[in-house]
């Protein structure tokens, strides 16, 4: 069963096999990059005669930014605050944010997973990483991987809750983009 609410792949001509296979490829790549849960609906339109490849997706938005208290436990200690890191994945980002906010001389890391800050203001609500921006980057990477190779003229329109990606061998003309958008709209309304 697809984890997405809607997942349609349409290919023109006698290319049912290609459409079926691209469905598998898209699932494999999105799963590899851990993006599949963040996409609600996906419409893929392939016209191999032109040739053009387009994807429109609706996102399940609302990933809150990652704060200091999400990556570790913040404790009040004598002379400041101690952060016991639970998630090392964002360690580099965390240190950068703390250095920027408090200054290097007030941030100390006695052991690998403990950071002590000499300050009276708690660091709990500082933003460590903007996961939504990271997600958008990963999504662009996934789309470039998914598009057939050689389709090197690409256009990617990213909005807060949706995206539209189109790739072709030849120059992308405004008429072509409009035509493909129309095709995808009719897939959405079908």
């Amino acid at each position: 069963m697809d984890p997405m609410e809607v997942f349609k792949v349409e290919a023109t001509g006698q290319e049912e096999f290609g459409a079926r296979k691209y469905r598998e490829i898209i699932m494999d790549i999105l799963q590899d990059l851990g993006l599949i849960r963040s996409i609600g609906r996906l419409y893929v339109y392939i016209d191999i005669e032109k040739p053009v490849f387009a994807v429109r997706g609706l996102l399940r938005t609302g990933i809150p930014p990652l704060t200091v208290k999400d990556v570790g436990d913040v404790l009040k200690v004598e002379g400041g605050y101690q952060i016991k890191i639970n998630d090392e994945e964002h360690m580099a980002d965390l240190l950068n944010v703390l250095w920027d906010h408090y200054g290097r001389e007030r941030v100390e890391q006695p052991v690998r997973d403990v950071v002590i800050i000499a300050s009276d203001t708690p660091p709990s609500e500082l933003v460590v990483a903007d996961l939504e921006a990271e997600f958008m980057q990963d999504l662009t990477d996934a789309l470039v991987r998914i598009a057939p190779e050689g389709f090197r003229n690409r256009r990617n329109e990213m909005a807060k809750d949706s995206f539209f990606f189109i790739a072709a061998e030849e120059t992308l003309k405004p008429e072509l983009i409009l035509e493909v958008k129309e095709k995808i709209r009719s897939m959405e309304n079908a």
């Binding site: 290919a11 001509g13 006698q14 290319e15 096999f17 290609g18 296979k21 691209y22 598998e24 490829i25 494999d28 790549i29 590899d32 392939i46 191999i48 005669e49 040739p51 991987r145 057939p148 190779e149 050689g150 389709f151 090197r152 061998e169 030849e170």
Partner: protein, 307 residues
């Protein structure tokens, strides 16, 4: 008639196998030692295979037929980008290797796309040095038909793989077309996928058989394994080549992995027991692969004798 076989067993006493094969008049094509295990690619006279089988049993080894041994097969993808590698191309190359072939992976510089795909003269020349070639294409029938231009001028048999079922008449320049491969982004592990790899091997084996039949009509002056043996004996520097297979065998010659300018004369001067020198029975030219030496044995119709 020499039979290509693969011996797998322990390193301990495997030199007995090599000695036996040499005594029987066979050839050791390749010897791969991996820690305590050894894999030998051998050519053994068919009538003496029982002796080797008995020794293999004694050493607790395994002896299987390697139908592609002594051949070099190119696996060509439109580029070396993530779209084609690693899964499909590596699976096919590895499977060819397991059946005894020496497989080389080639990524074209500008092979992508439907209308813009191109092959250079150098790439075509390099592919033509192999005994057969497998072209790996994608999932769209229209693209596979259009990409015929990539292999139209290749002179060795071309096995084309792709996704959809297509009639052979759609691909007149291909030796055979194997469907159900295409662009896949996971490794071949299901029974059906392994079955497809077997079909590719069978197609390559048929292509090589056709070449063998063509060679048999005008036999080579001597056999490539014999040239390999003589070069190995008389140009000992070849053993110091960093290449895992210092002398690669083809159906119509060998590739000696030494710099052409430095060692051309030494290879030309290789002499056989019959008193014939290699340069009298073979064309020795620079290979398209690095600066190696390519030896192409002339047929009997050109030299007037066979030994």
């Amino acid at each position: 008639m020499l039979e290509p076989v693969m011996f797998t067993g322990g390193v301990y006493k495997h030199d007995l196998v090599i000695e036996l094969v040499e005594d029987l008049g066979g050839y050791v094509l390749q010897r791969n030692v991996t820690q305590s295990e050894v894999i030998l690619l051998l050519l053994v006279p068919t009538e003496d295979q029982a002796a080797l089988q008995a020794l293999t049993g004694e050493l607790r080894g395994e002896l299987v037929r390697a139908p592609l041994a002594g051949t070099e097969v190119a696996v060509v993808t439109p580029t070396l980008a993530i779209h084609h590698l690693p899964h499909t191309a590596c699976d096919i190359a590895e499977y060819l290797r397991r059946h005894g072939a020496k497989s080389n992976m080639i990524g074209l510089a500008r092979g992508v796309g439907r209308d813009i795909a191109q092959i250079t003269e150098y790439e075509a020349g390099l592919i033509n040095e192999h005994d057969a070639v497998v072209f790996i294409f994608g999932n769209f029938a229209e693209c596979i038909r259009k990409k015929e231009s990539l292999y139209r001028n290749i002179s060795v048999p071309v096995v084309v793989t792709g996704g959809p079922e297509m009639p052979a008449s759609d691909l007149p320049y291909a030796f055979e077309y194997v469907p159900a491969v295409g662009r896949i982004s996971h490794r071949a592990r299901k029974a059906t996928e392994i079955g497809t790899l077997d079909r590719i091997i069978a197609a390559v084996a048929r292509a090589l058989d056709r070449t063998r039949a063509e060679i048999a009509k005008d036999p080579l002056t001597t056999s490539p394994p014999r040239v390999m043996d003589a070069v190995r004996e008389q140009v000992p520097e070849v053993e110091y080549s960093y290449s895992p297979l210092p002398i690669a065998l083809n159906l119509n010659g060998v590739r000696v992995k030494l710099p052409f300018e430095e060692y051309k004369d030494a290879v030309e001067a290789v002499t056989f027991d019959e008193g014939v020198r290699l340069k009298e029975i073979a064309a020795i030219k620079p290979s398209r692969m690095k600066d190696y030496i390519l030896v192409r044995i002339l047929p009997a119709s050109e030299t007037g004798f066979v030994f």
